[in-house]
């Protein structure tokens, strides 16, 4: 996640303090992983150096939280081009599960057991996310759905792999 561009986007609605930015970011995007203050101020000083934000005012008192930041027109262009560009799809080719399946087959262990145990663990998490959706708002639903679809993709791979185990075993041990 690009914290810098997210800050710029949040600043488009008006100048904010560093603390306020962190709080809004954590509420909307942080979920289980809130930002550290160090990350917030390192990001803001980089944006300031690059001319993407400017100081809108400094209130009396000590500490960086007293500074208010505003997005510059260069900052707005930066958000725009970030939103317009595609993210690189992650192919997950070095997957731990894949390695475990092959290693189980190479060493004569049960790959079926491994896949079954993993399926149970995936479904446990999917139940948790499904319950969370029931009690959450639409934003919470969207983030849970994103996780659920990815977990489901893993599971589809697991099912397909389970169906191919006999062929795979022959190839791996040949």
């Amino acid at each position: 996640m690009s914290i810098g561009q997210t800050f710029l986007g949040l600043l488009e609605s008006g100048p904010r303090h560093g603390y306020d930015l962190k709080k809004t970011y954590d509420d909307r995007f942080g979920h289980a992983r809130p930002l550290h203050y160090g990350q917030v101020y390192a990001t803001l000083s980089r944006l300031l150096k690059d001319g993407l934000v400017e100081l809108d005012g400094v209130e009396p008192g000590e500490g960086p939280e007293r500074k208010r930041y505003a997005v510059t027109s260069a900052g707005v262009s930066d958000v725009e081009s970030w939103l317009a560009s595609a993210e690189k799809p992650e192919p997950y080719l070095q997957n731990t599960l894949y390695t475990k399946v092959i290693l189980a087959l190479l060493t004569g262990r049960s790959a079926t057991d491994l896949l079954d145990v993993q399926r149970a663990e995936h479904l446990r998490l999917m139940r948790e996310l499904t319950r969370r959706k029931a009690g959450g708002d639409l934003a919470d639903n969207l983030i849970c759905d994103h996780a659920l679809f990815h977990l489901e993709a893993d599971l589809r791979w697991l099912e397909l792999t389970a169906d191919r185990l006999d062929d795979l075993r022959r190839q791996v041990r040949a």
Binding site: D116, V117, R119, A120, H122, L123, R124, M126, R127, L129, T130, A134, L148, F149, L151, E152, L155, R156, E159, A162, D163
Partner: protein, 231 residues
Amino acid sequence: MTGQPLLEGDGLHKAFGPTKALDGASIAIRAGEIVAIMGPSGSGKSTLLHCLAGIVRPDSGHVRYQGAEISAMTDGERSALRRTQFGFVFQFGQLVPELTCLENIALPLRMEGVRRREAEARAAEWLDRLDLADVGRKRPGEVSGGQGQRVAVARALVTRPRAVFADEPTGALDSLNGERVMRLLTEAARETGAAVVLVTHEARVAGYSDREIVVRDGRTRDIAREMEEAL
């Protein structure tokens, strides 16, 4: 597992010609719990559901509902059990096309001898509950797939069954409608205390269950329980 299960299949075998659909499958379902039966196509999961629901008689093994042997019942007794204690939701093709959606929901009550006015009043409550107030007077051919499945859910629950059997209930729906059907089905089942036996190959649908049983080559496996016991 403590106490007597609501529904239990024990050592079930069933073959269709040379094909073994079930090869020693066992499952126990407690009152009010939602259990997903998962597994690849042709693994025997629908046959297991049909045996548990008394639709198909296993070649050997036992199916018990509240301790009573279903396979020992007469056809009439099994049919009465299905009408009064069980509800069903299938992938499609379950609504009577000539009846309105309201009449479809009221149908199981009418078959039980409930008078039309009362049956339709109770059916109308389910229309409201499943966000279907607008479709009561329409026929199944005139409503969307998602609405049709919600009508089927209402019909399955209108008799307040102890167990609902759902075989790929969202199989013909897009993600958003599938989610809505599952949410309404599981919420209504929890409110009325019905157990749900849910056959699905979709993990997101199984996410609505309390636990899953995997069927492979006609045999069942309860991995979560095995993992707990191994601790």
